[in-house]
């Protein structure tokens, strides 16, 4: 967990994550990266100090005494059971807690759907409508079709590694793809690779086959 990663979220993403203004799907990715990346965790802890100090020096508002009494009554009441559901015991070992929670909520274990001979996908429900959030699994040595991106796509490697024309990505790496970024991911030879990815729009296959398939590619934010 202390290894140094090469691919991180942008500083703006960390700022927005710390300030709580980053959208849910992107936050899921950033938090997944933080699970693996100590240097970004420290950065976020430093960023939290900014919000904390801004709050500390803001001019205090008057509080009605009744509010304190209300709080005291509430803390004396037995806690509703719903408070903080325990982290699921199932899930994939080594995965961030929140990802396992999403998997658990959806179906206890990921429901993999085959996309091609080398790739499977398990969609996740996250309660937002901007990005499609899913797990992608590339089998050992699997080659995926070369593609472009029609919208933003963030990927975090959760297990194993994959590579494309520009780099090798290992556990925790955070990859940002935009329209115009054409690549062909390939799974590492030594084992399967699982990534979390959020997509704004479907990918665009650049091969001859894409001419037929592209109109059918859709994303369903959930």
């Amino acid at each position: 967990m202390t290894k140094v990663l090469n691919h991180h979220p942008t500083p703006e993403m960390l700022v927005e994550f710390s300030a709580g203004t980053l959208d849910t799907a992107t936050s899921i990715c950033v938090a997944s990266h933080l699970h693996f990346c100590k240097c970004c965790r420290d950065e976020v802890a430093r960023l939290d100090e900014v919000g904390s100090q801004l709050m500390a020096i803001s001019s205090p508002e008057t509080i009605d005494d009744a509010l304190f009494d209300k709080v005291m009554v509430k803390i004396d009441q037995p806690q509703p059971v719903a408070e903080a559901a325990p982290a699921p015991k199932t899930g994939i070992s080594g995965f961030p807690v929140h990802v396992n929670k999403l998997i658990h909520n959806a179906s206890k274990t990921p429901v993999w759907k085959r996309l091609s001979s080398s790739m499977e996908e398990a969609k996740l429900f996250t309660g937002q409508n901007k990005f499609e959030v899913a797990l992608h699994k590339i089998c050992a040595g699997g080659v995926t079709p070369k593609h472009d991106h029609r919208g933003l796509e963030y990927t975090v490697v959760l297990k194993g590694s994959f590579s494309d024309e520009s780099s090798v990505y290992t556990e925790g790496d955070f990859i940002i793809r935009q329209p115009g970024d054409v690549h062909q991911p390939m799974g590492a030879k030594n084992g399967e690779c699982i990534c979390l990815s959020v997509q704004e729009s479907p990918i665009k296959l650049t091969s001859f086959l894409g001419f037929f398939l592209n109109p059918w590619l859709k994303v369903k934010p959930a």
Binding site: M1, T2, N6, H8, T10, P11, E12, V15, E16, F17, A19, G20, T21, L22, T24, S27, I28, V30, A31, L34, H35, R41, D42, E43, A45, R46, D48, E49, V50, G51, S52, Q53, L54, M55, A56, S58, S59, P60, E61, T62, I63, L67, F68, K70, V71, M72, K74, I75, Q79, P96, V97, H98, K101, L102, N105, A106, F125, T126, G127, Q128
Partner: protein
């Protein structure tokens, strides 16, 4: 209680340099001590003091929000929700890692997001914002010391930032605006907003890791 707060505020903001070396990095400000007491022995008197200090600040934080779906009536709900969480979770507070102010701020930030998400969403949300902050950290004395230094530095330097950098940081952290929203509101290019945020943070000695320098270039 007002009196107590006044005396605390008068305390010098930073410890003398010597203390920096022999310090055990434990937060020993009044609020952190009180929070530990709440956590260890459900001390109601300590909680009342924390409430008297933080509830007005939390309300101020809540009222600063200019997020879509947020309205002033939610401010007291937020204060209530946060203070109840403070009571319930105080046992997990570690004064070595963060000051009470920072710890309570993070609770408030997470609550504010969750309240907004609940308001905007009729479906059951599968995650709460605090789920994103679950990673236990293997802190070393050095990393704790660094965190403490950041805290002190931010405290000292925040007031000295140029007005426009201060304004943008307040927009992002207190009003809860994304960079894109801030750029629209201030009628500034997104790049200008980003660089103001970065300049401000760099003056606070945040965003300094070399790997981010590279990221900055690539952006």
């Amino acid at each position: 209680m007002e009196k107590v707060r006044a005396t605390v505020d008068k305390k010098p903001q930073s410890a003398p340099k010597v203390a920096f070396f022999k310090s055990t990095e434990k937060r020993d400000d009044k609020w952190s001590t009180l929070l530990v007491e709440v956590g260890e022995s459900q001390d109601r008197r300590a909680f009342a003091e924390l409430f008297a200090h933080f509830a007005p600040l939390l309300k101020s934080f809540a009222q600063a929000s200019r997020q879509d779906g947020w309205f002033p009536g939610l401010a007291e709900d937020l204060v209530q929700e946060v203070m109840i969480k403070v009571w319930q979770k105080a046992g997990g507070y570690n004064p070595q890692k963060a000051s009470a102010t920072t710890w309570i701020y993070t609770v408030a930030r997470n609550c504010r997001i969750d309240m907004l998400r609940r308001k905007c969403n009729t479906q059951h949300l599968p995650l709460e914002n605090e789920d994103f902050w679950h990673e236990p950290d293997e802190e070393t004395p050095v990393s704790l010391l660094r965190q403490k230094r950041t805290e002190d530095h931010v405290k000292q330097s925040l007031g000295q930032l140029p007005r426009e950098q201060n304004e943008i940081l307040r927009k992002v952290y207190l009003e809860g605006k994304s960079h894109a929203e801030a750029s629209q509101e201030l009628d500034l290019p997104l790049g200008t907003v980003k660089s103001r945020v970065r300049l401000g943070l760099q003056k606070l000695q945040i965003l300094v890791a070399p790997e981010f320098r590279e990221e900055l270039l690539n952006d």
